[in-house]
């Protein structure tokens, strides 16, 4: 049944997110081309006659603007993906659709798990698409950036991919380890964000009499803030400890503490979501 639920959820999400990401890829390709073409126009001003200089400057400016706009669109795609996944969770369980979903012959645990897996898979796909686009865009923008290095703003492995190609991964085992660690942390972070959102909206639906969605949004911000405070407090404690132990040890402890807190929070949020679905939901 879990497989059927997952398939249903993934298909429903794909109906919206697949076209969105195809558009994102299309924009990424166009923007990369615009980046290369816009830069390559330099020195071709004779081709455009008397006003060639101005035309080239205008076209190059437009290409640079398109590149910047594409970066913004990529950010929007990430936000939209998360919102679509959470909206699907809320609508499918707490709106009228819940009358169908919650009377299926499945357990509450299976319902939540299927939604977590389908949402997470789409968030991973989104991350791959966006990072792929960022890699090609950064290559396309190279001409414009000149001395301004992008190395400081992009992950090292991503720059490795964009400049040396996929082959560099096989040659350097440290890069592979960094890549795996980065993905593990990213997926845990995604899982945490997803489950906090699911829990917030489940709590909003179960506890609020009116404005359940607004309550869900408020709870999401609140829980995220509390989490930030807890992690911040632990980090401050560990920084104070730096006077007594080595910095490497502290940095490792910070990273481990954050991962452990997130892992615990993920399990707690999942269990609470299941409890709320089973015992506290009253569809109106």
């Amino acid at each position: 049944m879990l497989e059927k639920l997952f398939r249903t959820d993934f298909k429903a999400l794909s109906r919206i997110l697949l076209p969105l990401h195809l558009v994102v890829v299309g924009i990424g390709v166009l923007a990369t081309f615009a980046g290369f073409a816009g830069y390559s126009l330099e020195g071709l001003d004779e081709l455009f006659g008397a006003a060639g200089d101005q035309i080239v400057t205008l076209l190059s400016g437009l290409a640079a603007l398109f590149l910047a706009l594409s970066m913004f669109l990529l950010f929007c795609a990430c936000v939209t993906t998360f919102v679509v996944v959470v909206v699907r969770f809320y609508r499918n369980l707490f709106s009228d659709e819940g009358y169908l979903t919650l009377t299926l012959p499945v357990t509450a645990g299976q319902l939540v798990t299927a939604k977590v897996l389908a949402g997470l898979l789409w968030m991973v796909i989104d991350a791959l698409v966006v990072l792929g686009c960022v890699a090609t865009l950064s290559a396309g923008a190279e001409g414009f950036t000149g001395d301004m290095s992008l190395n400081s703003s992009l992950p090292a492995w991503l720059l490795g991919l964009s400049t040396n190609g996929l082959a560099s991964l096989g040659e350097d085992s440290i890069t592979v380890l960094v890549l795996m660690r980065w993905w593990a942390q990213t997926i845990l972070q995604m899982l945490f964000a997803l489950l906090v959102a699911y829990l917030s909206f489940a709590l909003g639906a179960a506890l609020a009499r009116q404005h359940k969605v607004a309550a869900g949004v408020g709870l999401f911000i609140g829980i995220w803030w509390v989490y930030g405070m807890v992690v911040g407090a632990i980090d401050i404690f560990l920084v104070i400890m730096m006077a007594y132990v080595s910095t490497d040890l502290i940095m490792g402890a910070m990273s481990a503490a954050s991962a452990l807190i997130q892992l615990g929070a993920v399990c707690g949020c999942w269990a609470l979501c299941v409890f709320l679905l089973k015992h506290r939901v009253n569809l109106t």
Partner: protein
């Protein structure tokens, strides 16, 4: 499954929302092969009882047994529930709804559903958003009645539809339910449903006031069940 067990048994069933009780100490049994009218004015607890039986709500106290099972995944597999609301997503096509039911319910008879939809003139390629409110309700009824369930829970199936549609809905219920199954129809439109009912349950303020065969109305000297309902629930 033990065939001697009643399809539905409620024992001391109570449901409260905060301090306000919606159902109080409900005790009732529905044997196999009966069509039962769950009758009462608005706010009498009909929908709450339906939700409890379908597993959408948890009782505050008391017990529910569906063919001997407490509400859960196993009982949901043998209960076919039609809520008051339109629960199919607007973007969902009729064919996708058929696939969905076939996927999750082992007792779903796709051929029977297609046959009913054809007679209704509803194409399977249409999305739910393209259908009128009445047709959406009929499609949901078709999906629910195309299951070979042990218990059908129909919450206000004829509320808000025209008299011609009411006939279609009641005909669909009568001609499609499995004879070993039981049907519970909740409504306050007593006159429209009384000719299809075997038994009735009167609910008032969350309390079962009367639970009897429909013939009781005539035996007690009332012109019809509707007449009895109007006299008992006169404001």
């Amino acid at each position: 499954m033990d065939e001697s067990l009643p399809v539905l048994e409620c024992i001391g069933l109570t449901k409260s929302y905060g301090a306000a009780p919606a159902l109080r100490d409900v005790c009732m049994q529905v044997p196999r092969g009966r069509i039962v009218g769950l009758l009462g004015p608005n706010g009498s607890g009909k929908t709450t009882l339906m939700k409890l039986i379908s597993g959408l709500l948890q009782p505050t106290c008391g017990q529910i047994r569906i063919c001997g099972l407490t509400p859960g995944p196993q009982s949901k597999a043998i209960v076919s529930y039609l809520p008051e609301r339109t629960y199919l997503a607007p973007s969902m096509k009729v064919a996708a709804a058929l696939d969905y039911f076939a996927d999750f319910y082992a007792d779903f008879d796709r051929a029977a559903a297609l046959d009913m939809l054809t007679r209704l003139g509803v194409g399977t390629a249409q999305p739910m958003s393209a259908l009128s409110k009445g047709t959406k309700e009929k499609v949901q009824l078709v999906l629910v009645m195309a299951r070979r369930a042990s218990l059908y829970l129909l919450d206000e199936p004829i509320g808000g539809v025209d008299p011609a549609a009411r006939d279609y809905i009641l005909d669909t219920i009568i001609s499609n339910y499995h004879r070993d199954a039981s049907v519970i129809i909740s409504t306050h439109l007593v006159a429209d449903v009384e000719h299809v009912l075997d038994d009735f349950v009167f609910l008032r303020g969350g309390i079962v006031e009367r639970c009897a065969p429909v013939s009781f109305a005539a035996e007690a000297g009332y012109a019809s069940l509707d007449d009895l309902f109007r006299k008992e629930f006169r404001c």
